[in-house]
């Protein structure tokens, strides 16, 4: 099916033809629009049918799409050229935010630029895989041990800065986006297994440097019933909401747990529980399939990319997207600790939406800037 427009000149007046002109990928676009639409429907219910909330979310979507469109029209090679600059700027901003940042909910993440507030960590979500991919692809793959170490440093420095804000969730996501690039670049399995072993044995050290509230979250995760009034409240309520949804759910706008305000953060981090309560196992199953399809299209784009840089980058963006979904759903269902990661493209909130669609803009750019010839 893809061959239709990949290898042959598209009909200039067909929809795909027009999209192709402005460097958009039809299938990926369809998947994204479906996800965003589903998100709006859920948000209408989770946000107590507030039109104001919907309007704000729609505005953000529009802004995010603009960013997607701009990025998809930039040639991947230009992105590679800019990767060092972006990364450097991101690092400086991160240091800046630690020094002068605006505090919100007990963490320093924001830079207040007057007209809008900006999270440098969001920039790093793209800058890190961009830089690691461009750096590793400079030389033949698989990378040498030296290049591997340099790559790891590129990942660890921003991850530590962000963990210090403190924002453990974002820090781990950024680290994983970089590590996925390294994994895709073909380092030997022996190194991977060794790395995993070292990480596992580093867990006690990590425990030692964690903030109290983070330890609290981990402990609560292991035994939520221990603290039913405080930290465990989220997970207990979330599980009740999900479990009560059953196979087919209570129906749209019918969720009792979410509407009676038992479920905290129900329009942001815990929106998945609303979906599960109102649409049941069937609904969340379909949603997860939709996520897999979108990511699958991304993986396909990666496999068809023309340079190793583009392959690595596209692969990382697609897989990181799935990591987002997994971390959020794992958290809401009580599989993972509560780390505060939104459900991509569905949760209410602006910054992550822009970053995610920017990532998909990069994917589209990679796919639509291929030269019309077989590699």
């Amino acid at each position: 099916m893809n061959d239709l427009y990949d290898r042959t000149a598209p009909n200039r007046w067909s929809l795909t033809g027009v999209l192709r002109k402005i460097h958009l990928d039809a299938l990926l676009l369809l998947g994204l629009l479906t996800l965003l639409g589903v998100g709006l429907i859920i948000l209408y219910s989770a946000g107590d049918q507030s039109m104001a909330l919907m309007v704000r979310q729609l505005t953000r979507m529009a802004a995010a799409f603009l960013v997607l469109l701009i990025l998809s029209n930039i040639h991947p090679d230009r992105m590679r050229d800019a990767s060092y600059w972006l990364y450097g700027a991101g690092l400086i901003l991160l240091v800046f935010v630690l020094a002068f940042g605006h505090e919100g909910k007990g963490a320093q993440r924001w830079l207040d630029l007057g007209f809008f507030r900006f999270q440098p960590s969001e920039l790093m979500k793209l800058a890190v895989p961009l830089l690691v991919a461009s750096y590793l692809a400079e030389r033949p793959l698989a990378p040498s041990v030296f290049r591997l170490i340099v790559g790891l440093v590129m990942i660890i420095v921003p991850a530590l800065l962000i963990a210090k804000q403190p924002d453990l969730g974002t820090s781990l996501l950024i680290a994983s986006s970089g590590l996925i690039v390294i994994f895709l670049s073909g380092i030997s399995w022996r190194i991977i297994i060794g790395f995993v072993t070292v990480c596992a044995s580093a867990l006690p050290v990590l425990w030692h440097v964690m903030h109290d509230y983070q330890r609290q979250r981990v402990l609560t995760f292991l035994n939520p019933e221990k603290d039913p009034l405080g930290a465990g409240y989220h997970i207990i309520q979330s599980k009740i909401a999900i479990g009560s949804g059953g196979l087919f759910g209570r129906g749209w706008l019918e969720g009792t747990q979410s509407h009676l305000a038992f479920l905290p953060e129900r329009s942001t981090d815990f929106i998945f529980a609303v979906i599960a309560e109102e649409f049941g196992l069937l609904g969340v199953g379909l949603l997860l399939v939709l996520y897999l399809l979108v990511a699958g299209r991304g993986v396909y784009i990666a496999s068809q990319a023309q340079t190793s840089f583009a392959r690595l980058l596209a692969g990382s963006i697609s897989m990181t997207f799935l990591v987002y979904v997994f971390v959020n759903v794992g958290m809401v269902t009580g599989l993972l600790p509560v780390v505060g990661v939104p459900l991509p493209l569905v949760s209410y909130g602006g910054t992550s939406m822009v970053t995610l669609l920017a990532g998909f803009g990069i994917l589209m750019s990679i796919h639509t800037h291929r030269r019309m010839m077989s590699p």
Partner: protein, 617 residues
């Protein structure tokens, strides 16, 4: 292509990356499979369980605040209890328009604009608490008025709660203290989890010191509520653990006698049992009604207490700084004996004044025509100043300071009531470090009679006297005697903390000083001889008169012409029986004039009450 090697390796590289992509995709698929399994477990296998929790039911988890422990005196008389009262509480989550609700409630109870602002401020402070107390101790009429209008106020309810009550009123205001609303400062010292649902916290006195014991541990319950958030059914209940009860050494009768004996004077009284350190009476006057603070004192009432020149909120027994005056003399005398500067045979001549060699400044004795030839015993009994001027001068300030240190002068006693002051026992080093000044010999002279820089608190004076009475065993004053955990019948006694007896060079020194103090009360010319009559045992004591106002060289102290604020403080320390002490008393009467006239009779009435001697008179 900018990559120099890309062409050469391109095919192999694509192959490599694609292999990894496939692996990653499979791994992702596996993770999603796990998620699906988890969801199936929650939504299919355990569906019934969660559904019963959620279906129709709207499960809510609410805290159950523990009941605060009671406080008893030594006879089992209640000093702090919990009485039921109706409070009007708001659950902000369930209130659609909080601004309007507050305004309408204020109209309903005809509250002033000021009070409304105050309440809004408190709502901000108490963010994170589920319930908020709008008004405490509703009258029956107010309850009725609200009930009629209840439909207008979703999220607002009249709740029956237990609130703290102090049946003895002002009598224990300073010692037992009071509880009050939890404010921002309190939130920093508590475990917020454990105080969910708790409205009050110990603010002062024993209530504060033993907060952890008295408070207990929060419980919680899962309830089913209807759409308005009102409770329909209880699902799960973990009851709270009530706070432990406290049993104090304090004795209501003794406390009352002491407070009455002090009368309208400002001042403080501490009476304790030297063998255990148990504080049986602790009075600070003026006092106030602690019940005012329990439900939030009104701005007006608080201003009256705060701005009063007599400072009723100030706990004089622990924080009042007073020159010990002549009550320091027994300790200075003991220092003289112990350090070998004087013995029982040493005599001084008192012409009514003392001068340092080579200076003409006259340090006067209270008896202007002098005591004549005096030894240690007569100097204590008749409170001769000249003898102690001389003695202090010979000792030197630093040896004197080091000796007084053992008795706790200038140090915290460690009593179990918070916010005690340290007092001041001066030394040359203290003056150098705090004032950057040299120590003058004249300052040593007046230190000998407890004037000058010397400052002590009544509790400190009592502790030092107890150490003397016990011949060198230093005890920590202790207000609480025992605690009883919730549901248990056995009391758990608090440890008494005492030092080993101080080793004196000559243990006879104790008896010399104590005999002199007995002489104060029972001697023919003792300064407190009028309180020594009709006692079945010997009582030891020492009067003191502390200057508030410096008198110039050639002036005379004349109470009649001086304003009352500038009258001398009257002090008295005592213990009885002298050979086997059961009780130690320290009395400070602000502007009371002379220690023998005002302070000593107060101590006597406490002793009469303590030993049940009243009928004998």
């Amino acid at each position: 292509m900018s990559n120099r090697f890309a062409l050469k390796d391109h095919f192999r590289e694509s192959q490599l990356i694609n292999d990894r992509l496939i692996f990653a995709a499979l791994f992702a698929g596996l993770l999603f499979l796990i998620v699906m399994v988890r969801l199936s477990v929650l939504q299919v296998v355990e569906h019934e369980h969660f559904n019963s929790l959620a279906d129709r039911n709207r499960v809510d988890i609410g805290p159950l605040p523990p009941q605060r422990g009671l406080i008893y005196d030594r006879n089992g008389v209640i000093l702090a209890e919990n009485i039921p009262a109706f409070t009007l509480e708001i659950t902000p989550e369930n209130v659609p328009d909080i601004e309007r609700t507050l305004q309408e409630l204020a109209d309903l109870f005809s509250m002033s604009e000021e009070e409304v602002i105050d309440i809004k401020e408190r709502i901000k402070q108490q963010r994170g608490f589920r319930q908020f107390v709008f008004r405490q101790r509703l009258t029956e009429k107010e309850v009725a008025v609200f009930s009629v209008n209840r439909h207008r106020f979703p999220g607002v309810d009249v709740v029956g709660r237990l609130i703290r009550h102090y049946p003895q009123g002002a009598l224990f205001a300073h010692t037992v203290g009071y509880v009050g609303r939890i404010n921002e400062r309190d939130q920093k010292r508590i475990n917020a989890q454990n105080y969910k649902g708790t409205q009050q916290i110990g603010k002062t006195g024993v209530e504060r010191y033993y907060e952890d014991l008295l408070h207990g541990h929060v419980g919680y319950r899962q309830v089913e509520t209807n759409v308005q958030g009102r409770v329909v059914r209880e699902l799960h209940n973990v009851p709270p653990t009530s706070g432990s009860d406290l049993f104090l050494h304090l004795d209501v009768n003794l406390q009352r006698v002491a407070a009455e004996a002090l009368g309208d004077f400002n001042g403080a009284i501490v009476a304790l049992e030297p063998k255990t350190g148990g504080v049986v009476a602790m009075v600070s006057k003026p006092d106030f009604d602690p019940n005012l603070f329990v439900s939030g004192i009104s701005i007006k009432d608080y201003a009256v207490l705060r701005d009063s020149l007599d400072r009723p909120l100030f706990n004089r027994s622990l924080r009042g700084h007073y020159p010990p005056g002549s009550t320091l003399k027994p300790f200075v005398g003991l220092a003289g004996l112990e350090l070998g500067v004087v013995n029982t045979q040493t005599k001084s001549f008192c012409p009514g004044w003392f001068s340092l060699p080579g200076q003409d400044h006259r340090y006067r004795c209270w008896k202007s025509h002098g005591h004549g030839k005096v030894d240690l015993k007569t100097s204590i009994a008749q409170s001769c100043d000249v003898y102690f001027y001389d003695l202090a001068n010979t000792l030197g300030i630093d040896p004197l300071h080091d000796f007084l240190d053992i008795f706790g002068f200038g140090k915290l006693t460690g009593v179990d009531v918070p916010s005690e002051s340290k007092g001041l026992s001066p030394s040359s080093e203290w003056k150098r470090t705090t004032r950057n000044q040299a120590w003058y010999p004249g300052e040593t002279v007046i230190s000998g009679i407890g004037q000058g820089f010397n400052q002590t608190t009544p509790i400190q004076l009592a502790q030092a006297t107890a150490t003397l009475a016990m011949r060198g065993v230093n005890i920590r004053p202790q207000v609480a005697r025992a605690t009883r955990n919730n549901g248990e019948s056995e009391l758990q006694l608090f440890d008494t903390k005492k030092s080993d007896a101080l080793a004196m060079e000559d243990s006879k020194n104790w008896e010399i000083v104590i005999d002199s103090m007995v002489e104060v009360v029972h001697g023919k010319r003792g300064t407190a001889r009028h309180v020594g009559k009709n006692l079945p045992f010997k009582m030891a004591g020492k009067t003191g008169t502390a200057q508030v106002f410096g008198i110039k060289q050639d002036e005379k102290y004349d109470a009649d012409t001086l304003a009352k604020k500038l009258h001398d403080h009257a002090l008295f320390i005592a213990f009885a029986p002298a050979d086997d002490p059961e009780i130690v008393i320290a009395v400070v009467v602000e502007n009371g004039g002379g220690g023998s006239r005002t302070a000593a009779p107060i101590a006597r009435s406490i002793i009469d009450q303590y030993f049940g001697l009243i009928e004998n008179e």
